[in-house]
């Protein structure tokens, strides 16, 4: 019973957490690319990392909080333009190759020691550098903590309620934005493009422009997710590598591609699985078979195989409608 109690407490904590919200946000952005528009962006983690860097570095050099947010967004827009301009007129896999390569290059260059004074190299930027700018805006007292059931967190500082609330508000806003867009004629055109862009082109729509808009918007949403993610942890290039992108794909496909709430559900479920795995391994599996350090590795093996199985056997995920889902070829 103790084990189950711990497990469920851990589930709850994970669901509330900023990381879940941040990944759900980034996944909504990816869903806009992949689920709705059919753009195969395999560099969503690059957008997250860019958002994180843009935000953290601006504040590191004395910029105010909102300038940091603006820089993050502008950086994502520019990144999307660089990736999209040469590839969006070509077939899907060109975008795939360019996005994965560009995201990895961001990670490698960001981790380069010669950029240490700016990016912090491999070690990255600790959140004590940029968090104060964020916590200063808190409506709650700077000190003190608050308990809700088994969950006790500081009000403002560090891994706080404030951060959690902001994360979930941003998530809600992003979800509403996507909902409004997808129910509009713009969303109709986007879905048409996913299915057959030549057909949409033959009806007089500037497919290239729509794809670019979707790429930029999804990328900016990814950058917002990246910013929230590093507010809870720290900016580390290696934490936002391509494994993160693949994880986002799993989240999107698990919850249901081309649905507004699929990515949110997918993120919650994914983190529950990982926490469950960790608790179970810690409790029942002898360390000779799997050490605690190997759990994340095992987690990724599960993600990879899960991704394959989802695509093959349930491409519409949990919330999706099979008839409505088609991957553009």
């Amino acid at each position: 019973m103790d084990f189950l109690a711990t497990l469920f407490t851990d589930f709850g904590a994970q669901i509330l957490s900023t990381v879940t919200a941040a990944f759900a946000i980034a996944a909504i952005g990816l869903n806009l690319h992949f689920g709705y528009t059919g753009l195969l962006n395999i560099g969503q983690a690059g957008f997250m990392l860019l958002g994180a860097y843009g935000f953290a570095i601006t504040i590191r050099f004395g910029g105010p909080f909102w300038l940091g947010v603006l820089v993050a967004i502008v950086a994502a827009v520019i990144f999307a333009l660089i990736l999209g301009l040469p590839t969006l007129k070509l077939r899907g896999y060109y975008l795939a190759i360019v996005t994965i390569a560009a995201a990895e290059i961001l990670r490698i260059v960001g981790g380069n020691q010669s950029l240490g004074p700016v990016t912090g190299g491999v070690a990255g930027i600790g959140n004590q550098v940029y968090s104060p700018a964020f916590t200063a805006l808190s409506p709650f007292p700077q000190d003190g903590s608050f308990s809700l059931g088994p969950y006790t967190y500081p009000l403002t500082v560090g891994d706080s309620w404030y951060l959690r609330i902001v994360s979930w508000i941003v998530l809600a806003l992003v979800a509403v934005l996507v909902l409004l867009l997808m129910r509009s004629p713009w969303g109709r055109t986007i879905r048409g493009i996913r299915e057959d862009e030549d057909a949409v082109r033959s009806l007089g729509k500037n497919v290239y422009l729509y794809k670019m808009q979707a790429l930029i918007l999804g990328g900016v949403i990814g950058a917002l997710g990246g910013m929230l993610f590093v507010l809870g942890t720290s900016v580390q290039p290696d934490s936002l590598g391509r494994s993160t992108t693949f994880l986002l794909y799993t989240i999107v496909l698990l919850g249901g591609a081309a649905t507004v709430f699929g990515p949110v559900l997918g993120a919650v479920l994914y983190f529950m699985v990982i926490i469950g795995l960790q608790d179970v391994v810690g409790q029942f599996v002898p360390p000779e078979i799997m050490s605690q350090q190997q759990v994340p590795q095992f987690g990724y093996i599960v993600v990879g195989i899960g991704l394959m199985l989802l695509v093959i056997f349930r491409p519409q995920g949990i919330l999706g409608n099979k008839k409505e889902l088609s991957f553009g070829d």
Binding site: R91, L177, L180, L181, S184, P185, W186, G187, R188, T189, R191, G192, E195, D196, D198, A199, V200, R201, S202, L203, G204, K205, N206, V207, Y208, Q213, L217, K323, E324, L325, S326, D329
Partner: protein, 342 residues
């Protein structure tokens, strides 16, 4: 034949088009029956369009005019370059003879004018916006969307298609209601109104052709270009399709359509253009054009022991198109880097 006409709702694409079918045909009767003949009222004029793949020239059209308000059939044996020609003038492919973007090159360069507007280096969506809308040989009904959504996608001037306006429903609600009403009318005309909330993927092959045609009409095109509208269509639906095409013409829309054989074309088209091996080999009214030696040669080259009007040709083409469509849908081989088959 001209079934399901909805009175009073048709929008004339071309208001200064007063003549009836007989007048049109008698006017066309004065046109010389030479490849590249000048028409009294050309809506589209094409010059020097050449397209080669590797060393093979797929299309080489020196001059072609299409008469406003007429049904022009573009026929020719398999591999004559009809679809490639369609792709070229609708902006889905680029002529090898296009004027190089950065200057240089040897002329003559490809040029073509539609309703007086030059379309030389125009992208496909702009061509459609100028009023020249096409359909595809392998129907591109968007199967994971409803029939109604397919139709609405065809309409132009939608403020809600702008990403910022899209967020404010009141800004596009009115236009949405207008196009929805228009779509309903067209669906009634094409007898698809009962299916409007079904996914387009659930329609039969013939219904998809109808949907594609109806969708193209949502933008009130001055000219509609149909790429093998009869391919893969159940013979029972063929008559109704032909009726719809004639109806389009009678409402003032210019029609250019691609077809393999004469049989389908003979009684609905006002003018026939024959292509073979990428070139236009003959032009003329439907009842005389097939007597040209060039046409006979072209067809004998591919269907050597078949009568030109023979229905088995139709069957064979039907089988072929169907097999191709199945292959497309099933395996998606996409052996070429750019995906689609012609």
């Amino acid at each position: 034949m001209t079934d399901a006409k909805v009175s009073g709702t048709a929008v004339r694409a071309d208001d200064d088009y007063p003549w009836d079918r007989t007048a049109l045909r008698s006017e066309l009767a004065t046109v010389s029956q030479e490849p590249g003949a000048t028409k009294p009222q050309p809506i589209l004029a094409v010059d020097n369009v050449v397209r080669s793949f590797g060393g093979v020239t797929a299309v080489d059209v020196a001059h072609l005019e299409v008469q406003r308000g007429a049904i022009t059939a573009l026929i020719g044996p398999n591999g004559a370059g009809k679809t490639t020609f369609f792709n070229l003038i609708t902006g889905f492919d680029k002529p090898s003879s296009a004027k190089p973007r950065f200057g240089g090159g040897n002329g003559p360069f490809a040029t073509w004018r539609f309703q007086g507007r030059s379309l030389g280096a125009t992208s496909a969506f702009r061509v459609a916006q100028t009023g020249m809308v096409r359909t595809f040989q392998l129907t591109k009904a968007l199967s994971a969307m409803t029939v109604m959504d397919n139709m609405l996608l065809g309409a132009k001037d939608q403020p809600g298609e702008h990403i910022l306006t899209a967020l404010f429903r009141p800004r596009w609600k009115k236009r949405e209601a207008e196009i929805r009403a228009k779509a309903e009318e067209l669906l009634v005309r094409f007898k698809l109104d009962a299916k409007k909330d079904d996914y387009a993927g659930s329609l039969s092959g013939g219904q998809r052709k109808l949907l594609e045609m109806a969708r193209a009409l949502m933008s009130d095109p001055a000219m509609i270009m149909l790429d093998e509208p009869m391919a893969g269509v159940n013979p029972a639906l063929t008559q109704s399709l032909l009726g719809h095409i004639q109806d389009l013409r009678d409402r003032g829309t210019t029609v250019l359509f691609v077809e393999h054989d004469m049989h389908m074309v003979r009684h609905i088209s006002d003018w026939v253009v024959v292509m073979a091996e990428g070139k236009i080999v003959a032009e003329g009214p439907p009842d005389t054009v097939m007597q040209h030696q060039a046409v006979v040669d072209a067809y004998l080259g591919s269907h050597h022991d078949q009568d030109l009007g023979d229905d088995s040709v139709l069957d064979e083409d039907f089988e072929q198109a169907k097999a191709q469509e199945d292959a497309e849908r099933g395996e998606r081989t996409a052996a070429e880097p750019d995906g689609e088959k012609a």
